[in-house]
Amino acid sequence: MTATAGERRKPKGRATALRAPFHALAQRIGLSGRGLVVAVPYFWLIAFFLLPFIIVAKISLSQMIIGRPPFTDFFVWSDAWLPEIQAYLDNYRWLLQDSLYWVAYLNSVKIALISTLFCLLIGYPMAYAIARAKPTVRTLLLLMVILPFWTSFLLRVYAWMGILRNTGVVNNTLTSLGILDQPIQMMNTDFSVYVGIVYTYLPFMILPLYATLEKLDGALLEAAEDLGAKPWKVFLTVTLPLSLPGIVAGSMLVFIPAVGEYVIPELLGGPDTLMIGRVLWDEFFSNRDWPVASAVTIVLILVLVIPLALFQRHQAKVQEREA
């Protein structure tokens, strides 16, 4: 946002009479046209990220009570004209004391990391193939990547239950073909969770990868080959490093939501699938402990999401300088 000084007067020039009052108003509140455009994302961030974050942070510093809402007030209005602040760090202490949370965090990170890796391994060749396809085919392939989004996410997860369960498509086919005597237990295992997460987040990996691979100058690959690099060497020394921004962006888009994933482990996972999202649910609903649930969230954001976001910003800047 650009703040213009009060004295600053631009010559009116050919501005019509109708536009003039608007200009005056915009100047008075310190907004130029460009400032307004820049203000929109800031407004978005403040309204939909910062404010909720502050509210949750505030709850995380309160204590649980039976009441509506089920936590103590942050500001207590006593006789003095300034409110007293009541903040407790107990909830954070509680998180530190109980290994359950750390186990859950680490397990979430592990599941998210492995899922991201698989998304990358599956998504990279797909993105590569799409980027190298003929333009007409490319549009179609991209459409097919995006197509699942037109169906409800829940329906798709339920579909996987139908595919993976003991009497499901896979097991039925394999047993009726005589390949299996007994169905393999796939549902309610870590395997099904990985399948669910990788399936759901794959498009988020493919799209940024496609965007960078599509921009990749084919002449660079030819130059490398011309200089004596075999195809796999071309890939390792040119394609891969140049698609790094896509890899970073895609991995972030998969990793961050996967860490906090709740629905997929809940529906597809087994009892062993301990993820922070489920712990959060338990704290919020089973224990009705909104403050601890908020503390879990705040820690998740501060420890995982913000460092990653900063890292990605840094990466993006480095890439921008080189482009």
């Binding site: 030819e222 130059a223 200089l227 080189e322």
Partner: protein, 394 residues
């Protein structure tokens, strides 16, 4: 080939030595892209140490031919031999050729040094040697101080030199250059042309250059091939191509030329007499090719080979009357100046020789004078020697 045209007899001209085996042999190569035939049964022989240009308009197949030499495209039929070795089935990374790409294709994530070292690393060249050779290559293109820079921190000319160093550091048998100067501005281009020629001469590497710029081809090449619609129309030294174009296309493509349609009137001992109704006079051409009487031909005359002089008798061609110089003189025609372009070193005149048929004439401005001897709307006489014209049958 006329004896008189061996311009630089002291210079090495391997293509004239029948005992020498060509270094690159493109043997009846055809490349088909679906319905489109990009290269059509082309045969070319290029010798060691040549700076050979492939010249043609865009879409003529010159780039496809170059890419087949590099190994990025594979001939639909025919074969390519380099130093006697059949390149069919040899992948690009195994070929003894390197390419300098049109937009240089420098690796943006590597420094200048790393870019140049890339090819050597692929060959497993060891550190000390690698360092030395990279250093030498950068020295050659005067980029030593910029070794640690990334490509985006360099100017266009510097990038071009990095690309050159990168493609030469492997000491290829053949260097392919795809429009090497197209991305540079005019001044830089002229300077770089000579740099390229010097480097080529120094290293003795065979250069194959693709260009659409005829001036560039004329300056650079030992020999060049003019291509049209997938076929090589003519191969020769720049002067051969300029002075003895084989076809109307080549004649028209390289420099300016006056093309005059006519019919062979008589074949004499010294030359051929062609009747040219457009001019209203007979054209005498010596040193002509095989023609027979009555054949339709085209006489090509370069503008600088025509002399222009004021017509003492004043008037231009009269309506309906033959405008040839009285007395049935050959290679002489009257006309009116329609256009004058003063270029400093020379002037170009467009002279109407009747019914709007324009003849272009270039005269060097030998005298320092502000006055024009010949000006707009002046009546002039154009004359040229019998050996100035060339008979084209194709």
């Amino acid at each position: 080939m006329p004896e008189t045209l061996r311009a630089r007899p002291e210079k090495h001209q391997p293509w004239l030595d029948a005992s020498l085996r060509p270094y690159i042999h493109i043997d009846a190569v055809t490349k088909q892209f679906g319905e489109f035939r990009a290269v059509d049964r082309t045969t070319l022989e290029i010798h060691r140490g040549e700076l050979f240009c492939l010249l043609g308009a865009s879409g003529c197949g010159k780039t496809t031919l170059l890419r087949m030499l590099a190994g990025f495209e594979h001939p639909t039929s025919g074969r390519i031999l380099i130093d006697g070795q059949d390149m069919t089935g040899v992948p690009a990374y195994d070929r003894p050729v390197n390419m300098m790409f049109q937009n240089y294709a420098l690796f943006p994530h590597m420094s200048v040094e790393q870019n140049v070292a890339y090819g050597l690393k692929q060959d497993g060249v060891r550190k000390p040697e690698l360092k030395q050779r990279v250093g030498e290559a950068l020295e050659m293109v005067q980029l030593g101080p910029w070794a640690k820079r990334k490509p985006h921190q360099l100017s266009g000319g510097q990038r071009q030199r990095v690309a050159l160093a990168r493609s030469l550091v492997k000491r290829p048998k053949v260097l392919l250059l795809d429009e090497p100067l197209a991305a540079l501005d005019k001044k830089l281009r002229e300077r770089t042309q000579f740099e390229l020629m010097n480097i080529q001469e120094e290293l003795g590497v065979t250069f194959v250059v693709v260009t659409h710029d005829q001036e560039e081809a004329m300056t650079l090449s030992t020999r060049m091939a003019v291509m049209e619609r997938g076929q090589v129309v003519q191969v020769g030294t720049p002067s051969e191509i300029y002075e003895f174009p084989a076809t109307r296309f080549t004649a028209d493509f390289i420099g300016s030329i006056n093309l005059i349609e006519g019919r062979v009137k008589r074949v004499e001992a010294a030359g051929v007499l062609v009747a040219a109704p457009q001019l209203g006079c007979d054209l005498e051409v010596t040193g002509a090719t095989q023609v027979r009487e009555g054949q339709s031909v085209c006489v090509a005359i370069r503008p600088e080979k025509i002399a222009v002089a004021p017509n003492a008798e004043g008037a231009g061609p009269e309506e309906g009357a033959p405008n040839a110089v009285r007395g049935g003189a050959r290679n002489s025609v009257r006309g009116t100046v329609r256009d004058v372009a003063y270029l400093g070193d020379s002037s170009v005149f467009r002279v109407d020789v009747g019914e709007g048929f324009l003849i272009e004439v270039t005269q060097p401005n030998l005298l320092r004078s502000l006055e024009r001897k010949v000006d707009w709307d002046d009546a002039v006489v154009l004359t040229w020697r019998a050996d100035a014209g060339l008979i084209l049958t194709e």
